[in-house]
Symmetry: C5
Subunit: 95 residues, 5 copies
């Protein structure tokens, strides 16, 4: 999984029917710096679109998974989904 922050949402009225009813959230990947503070990740893997499984709100820090794991996490595993928020982070402790 990766750590991310919910930075927005997407409205898409025309979409694959298996996505109807899914909340689509934009997540910015976050990485802890040397002091453990989360910083947004720059570059190619920096932003993903996810389905929310846990009721995440804007600005919250989350953990999300991708690929077939995300697809399998939602309902019967048949929807065209490859990103899913699976937890809301309370604290990140680094050493």
């Amino acid at each position: 999984m990766k750590i991310g922050r919910v930075i927005g949402n997407i409205v898409a009225t025309r979409k694959d029917e298996r996505l109807v009813g899914q909340k689509l959230l934009i997540v910015r990947v976050m990485v802890p710096d040397d002091r453990g503070e989360l910083k947004p990740l720059e570059g190619s893997e920096g932003t993903v679109v996810t389905v929310d499984l846990v009721g995440a709100g804007f600005g919250e820090t989350v953990i999300f998974c991708t690929g077939s794991t995300a697809r399998n996490s939602v309902g019967s595993g048949q929807a065209p989904i490859d990103g899913a928020i699976v937890g809301i982070v309370d604290t990140v402790d680094t050493y």
Copy 2:
């Protein structure tokens, strides 16, 4: 999923027979900047070739999935496809 923009299409007469009849669109990955405006992604993951499941047109902003999720999204899931457009974006709201 990722956000992208349809920037072109591919004509390929010689191809695996399981791709016959599929519209192949080139999608540039887009990422929201700090003000929420979508910018094209530079670098290694910046351009993908996708099959279109939702009738996307040139220049439209879309969401697409990749990997086994894309393959499973199309027909019986047996075609050699690892990119699929699954929605057309109306609005991207960032915070």
Copy 3:
């Protein structure tokens, strides 16, 4: 899928027996620039080794898939293959 160009081939006499008889082609990932011309991709994902499903020749522009989709594309889907050329590009049109 990605766009690529066949830049070479690999000879490997010692290999997993499930690869025997497969033509192994080296593909350089290509991305269209702002004017639609294909440029070689620099960096970490720039070169892959693929199995050829469509009779591609050296220097040809192709589309290829990766991961489990590539594996499933070849024969019974059991060979240790994670890259496969699935089409030969006639034209790339960008807008």
Copy 4:
């Protein structure tokens, strides 16, 4: 697999129920330099969140896997997990 170092942990009380009871560790990807010393990897793939299968402690050097392999490694393979620590490194020998 990749080499990593355990740099912290995550507390998440609200999460997918299939993650309950799993220890979530933050792993920094490490790569050997020319002299074989492990250095933290900068950039987009530099930090992952993993489930620990082998009792790893903070600061330990580990090997971990990702994607569907990680998911399949844990219990019945149904949890939304795409990173898993599968070994603790005693020595890395480079040549």
Copy 5:
């Protein structure tokens, strides 16, 4: 698949029991430059840990696969493995 060079090995006495008996080799990803000479790949995907299916030795040039394809290549496909060496390269010919 990718081209790589075996640069070392890993000793891990504490590991998932499904990895017992597997030789764990460190592979540096190699990419051909404009003249066809193999150069080590810098950056995020530059080093992977693999299981060796073909008896590769230190310093040898190999082809390896990753992800679920690597897992499926080894025994019953149930071990937590996402990198596998599947061939030893005799020659790389580029054009």
